[in-house]
Amino acid sequence: MHRQNIPAARPRLKRKSGSGQFILATILLLVTVLCALPIELVFAAAFSDEEMLTSQGFMFFPSRFSLDGFNAVLRYGKQLFISYGVTIFVTVSGTVLGLIIMAMFAHTLTAKSFPLRHFLTIWAMIPMLFSGGQLSTYIIYTSMYNLRDNLLVLILPLCVSTMNIIILRTYIHTSIPKELTDSARIDGAGEYRTFFQIVLPLMKPSLAAVGFMMATAYWNDWQNALLFITSNNKKPLQLLLINIQKSIETLLSTRNIPSSALVAMQGSIPQYSATMATVVMVIGPIMIVYPFFQKYFIKGLTIGSVKG
């Protein structure tokens, strides 16, 4: 899509804001509330009193609040902090690495004179159409590459994707004037310099969009972790959540909790609220970051859907 083809924004038709509009708004509002309630439930449960949860069940608006869940998780959940570290490390390094190498790749695809342009385009397209499937991937990663219990297996396979390359390429194509890179070359800037000093800084909006999508993919990746990671000190948050489903004690090894604290918690671990508190800790960061990236993210989605 070329910029000049987009019709200049015209003021929208004046719409009658009669009763029809209010019905429409009410329906949409209802949908939105229905959509938000399950998320609200997690927060409500995380701050609920454990006794109330077990006797009366989960509630959207709990009658008794308590911080026991968070207390237990934050004070005795050593594993949570290790997992936080792992997830942050994987997310940041994977996203940065992926953005740089995909931006470079996309940049080479836009140079008309580059003889490998078509070959590389096809090379990047085929994985979108055809894949080896989980089983052969699993066997090759473990028996050929020896990536079992190695953090690289969480980083490398997710760091490039065809869709993201298309988004970046389309962005360079439509939003970075050819004259700019050409004149840089004429002024004697090498290929690297042209890319790192001119193209890359101008790509910021598309990098923000792709970066956010990549970061959430890394943050939420549970399958690779479940398949390949075995040791506790490499366990990312999502794997921790899976383990908690089986028993909250994975998180709060009872041995570490002093008996005085156990007495204060009425002899038992606040299971439901502590679990939900952990869920809040896992999904919280994305919810906090999302509003800042929303604008770019929506733009990126839109670019990606227009085939370049």
Binding site: C35, G57, P115, S136, L156, P157, N220, V279, Y290
Partner: protein, 301 residues
């Protein structure tokens, strides 16, 4: 040959810049594709993928011998694909059009933001949310209706449950694409339609829907290739991988995941994987060819 190498040498900077992505695709996408030969091998972990002996079509015979399992998971996979695609697209378009028609733009922006959020919650976390609704003692549904259904034991409810979860998770995100198309429609088209005496519904039918068609085609085409693949997290995590639910919740992907964990039935699984990859690719090529025939400009490639 020499000339070509010289040409490449002239572009060595570009070659180097393209290299990392090239290599990652090679090692993490293309080599596993070669791993599909597993379907024709008698896999032995000690011998590794390449050294394991060939066994012809034995794995596929095995697949046919345990038809029951295979048919059921294939059927489930396709059924969920159809439900999710049809219901998802319908709801996404409905929401997109409703948002576009809404006069209160500020409110629309806020609602849109909220609707997208669920896609960012991983199924491992969604699983706990679903549990809060369905747990037999403490769950919201049982409390609300005073019932004591043991949801995680009753396979018949799960097609509905999974559809609701999937729609909750993906609809807001899917609607964004259609909304961006709608925002790009030239307002003159609506003005012209109005002058011709078209009412709101007629405008939607004759202006809005036709302009959504290209995007719908692209989305359908992209999804057809993954008809044999499922949102593994939905079927593996949200169901808590409960064996009693398998009759309605086991899809090919979750079966394979289970097989890997139990280290069992590699022959059967390899054949199923092969089937899954090949069918997906054939379908996407076929449907792309079909679209190319009818609307060349909407084809993917």
């Amino acid at each position: 040959m020499k000339k070509q190498l010289q040409l490449l040498w002239g572009h060595r900077a570009q070659v180097i810049m393209a290299m990392p992505v090239f290599l990652i695709f090679l090692f993490f996408s293309y080599v596993p594709m070669a791993g599909l030969v597993l379907a024709f091998k008698d896999f032995d972990y000690k011998l590794g993928l390449w050294q394991s002996p060939w066994n012809g079509l034995a794995n596929f015979k095995f697949l046919l011998a345990s038809k029951q399992t295979f048919l059921q998971m294939t059927l489930n996979t396709v059924m969920y694909y159809l439900i999710f695609t049809a219901a998802g697209m319908l709801l996404e378009i409905a929401i997109a059009i409703a948002m576009d028609q809404l006069a209160f733009k500020r409110l629309g922006k806020v609602m849109q933001s909220v609707l997208i959020v669920p896609i960012f919650i991983s199924y491992t976390a969604v699983q706990f949310i679903v549990y809060a609704f369905l747990s037999s003692n403490t769950g919201i549904i049982n409390n609300l209706f005073g019932s004591s259904t043991r949801w995680y034991m009753e396979a018949k409810y799960w097609p509905v449950i999974l559809t609701v979860v999937k729609l909750w998770n993906g609809t807001g995100y899917g609607a964004v694409l259609y909304m961006s198309v709608l925002a790009g429609i030239d307002q003159q088209m609506y003005e012209a339609a109005q002058i011709d005496g078209a009412n709101k519904w007629q405008q939607i039918r004759h202006v809005t829907l036709p302009s959504l068609l290209p995007m719908m085609t692209v989305m359908l085409l992209l999804s057809v290739g993954s008809i044999m693949h499922s949102d593994t997290g939905l079927f593996y995590q949200v169901t808590r991988n409960s064996g009693t639910l398998y009759s309605t919740t086991q899809v090919i992907d979750s079966y394979i995941l289970n097989a890997i964990f139990h280290n069992s039935n590699f022959g059967f699984t390899a054949a199923a994987t092969f089937f899954q990859s090949v069918v997906g690719t054939i379908l996407i090529l076929l449907s792309n060819a079909a679209v190319r025939k009818i609307h060349p400009e909407n084809a993917l490639f």
